[in-house]
């Protein structure tokens, strides 16, 4: 269980990193390495070159000015414990608590978790729920992309091979409500099913905007249009609303079976996590 040989690049800037990625075919970004290195140890991945972005200053840091800006190489533990994040974006902290264990979060990066595109991982779904924007640097410059449409399939995202995720921007959540629930076999495992829900509610307590993101259920994290439709205009704690949203959540979704659970299990579990995430949301004035 030892990795195959590779060349190692440690750029000092994003520009150098992109250059290293584009001049080395078959290269990969090494961020925290908590997902990539096990794959390499098992020789399920064998990149010819690794581009270690761990020491690029501009990729680190957390800033909030209305929206939250997280540098892609910021360690998950630093985001989880950050006072601003805890106060203003509590769903991120709640989700990160479920990402592996302290030693994993101490090395694993915020952006790495997103760019890895693991369908069972928590952060990608949270990004969908919170309507995050990804700032991406490539050979032809900088582009931005919202989370919707970024996650394409198993470990596949809209990032090109020579592109680097540099920053994640997450809109202000001050007036939003959130719920986050996942089912896992053991604490810290990938989810058998999980839901990240964000609701905006009008003065009368009716849902004005719903974002229901699911993870651990299909080949990619995804939003449930059906569940969001059910929620629109309702008061989520009214009888039957959460139940109905859960029940329809997977309409039209191709649900994955794996070595742990059947597709039938996942369908039921998804209904459960959506319903529970909605019921977890603190009742608000008028609701």
């Amino acid at each position: 269980m030892k990795p195959a040989t590779f060349d190692y690049f440690r750029p000092d800037s994003v520009t150098e990193a992109v250059e290293a990625l584009s001049t080395n075919p078959d290269s990969k970004v090494l961020a925290g390495g908590q997902s990539l290195v096990p794959m390499m140890n098992m020789r399920l991945a064998g990149p010819s070159a690794l581009v270690d972005i761990g020491r690029i200053e501009e990729l680190h840091g957390i800033a909030a000015n209305g929206s939250l800006r997280v540098g892609a190489a910021t360690r998950q533990a630093d985001v989880m414990d950050h006072a601003t994040v805890v106060r203003g974006w509590p769903m991120i902290g709640a989700a990160l608590k479920e990402v592996g264990h302290p030693a994993i979060r101490a090395r694993g990066t915020f952006g790495g978790n997103i760019a890895h595109g693991d369908p069972g991982s928590e952060l990608p779904a949270v990004m969908l729920a919170l309507d995050a924007t990804f700032v991406i640097e490539g050979p032809s410059g900088t582009r931005s992309m919202v989370a919707d449409g970024f996650f394409l399939g198993h470990y596949t995202t809209a990032l090109d091979e020579d592109e680097l995720l540099v920053r994640v921007d997450i809109p202000d959540q001050a007036t939003s409500h959130w719920g986050f629930v996942e089912i896992d076999r053991r604490h810290g495992d990938y989810a058998l099913a999980g839901a990240a829900v964000r609701l905006d509610v009008d003065a009368a307590g009716h849902v004005s905007d719903a974002r229901v993101a699911l993870f651990g259920v299909a080949s990619r994290p995804l939003r449930s249009a059906a569940a969001e439709q059910v929620l629109a205009g309702t008061r989520p704690r009214d009888a039957g609303v959460a139940d109905e949203a859960g029940r329809v959540a997977l309409e039209g979704v191709d649900v994955a079976a794996d070595s742990f659970v059947s597709a039938a299990y996942r369908r039921e579990a998804t209904a459960t996590v959506v319903e529970r995430a909605l019921l977890d949301i603190e009742p608000t004035e008028g609701a």
Partner: protein, 166 residues
């Protein structure tokens, strides 16, 4: 930009000493510590990042040595079980594991000790639930965790008493 290819000298600070060894970029930090530097106290249990036996502190925070390449930590500070106490002594945490029967075969123990050190630095007075949550990334097949949890509680008590005295 630093570029490393083939066998190269890698310099890191381990337990306060500047150490140099030869490593290909692909050499895992666990192998580098054990087989290049002869620090065999850090153990390897899975090389999949799950069991936690290889946990060391990198710049003071816990990390899986089996998921880290030695070249990644060039110039960084690594702390391993060998550096927890002076020769012939036990640190407060090691002493607590001894007194609470927090080890049997001893193979997972170095990873538990380094994780406990990190926990108590972050949270000097953890509840049982916080201890269990923090150590959930370290696996022990011998103890059923009973003595380990008790050892962490004891170490926290001892540390608190010492800092009160100081």
């Amino acid at each position: 930009m630093e570029i490393r290819q083939g066998n190269i000298a890698v310099e890191i600070t381990v337990n306060g000493d500047l150490r140099t060894g030869i490593a290909e970029p692909r050499m895992l930090l666990s192998d580098f510590l054990r087989h290049e530097l002869g620090l065999t106290g850090t153990h390897v249990g899975c090389e999949q990042g799950v069991c936690g036996a290889c946990t060391v502190l990198i710049d003071g925070v816990p990390a899986r040595a089996c998921l880290t390449f030695a070249v990644q930590v060039e110039g960084r500070r690594i702390d391993t079980v060998e550096g927890m106490a002076e020769p012939g002594q036990l640190s407060d945490i090691q002493q607590a594991y001894h007194e609470e029967h927090g080890l049997q075969c001893g193979f997972c123990t170095p990873g538990f000790l380094t994780s406990t050190e990190a926990l108590l630095r972050e949270n000097p007075d953890p509840t049982e639930e916080q201890i269990r949550e923090y150590l959930s990334g370290n696996v022990c097949r011998c103890t059923g965790y009973q003595g380990i949890v008790a050892a962490v509680q004891r170490a926290a008590r001892v540390r608190k008493a010492v800092s009160h005295d100081a």
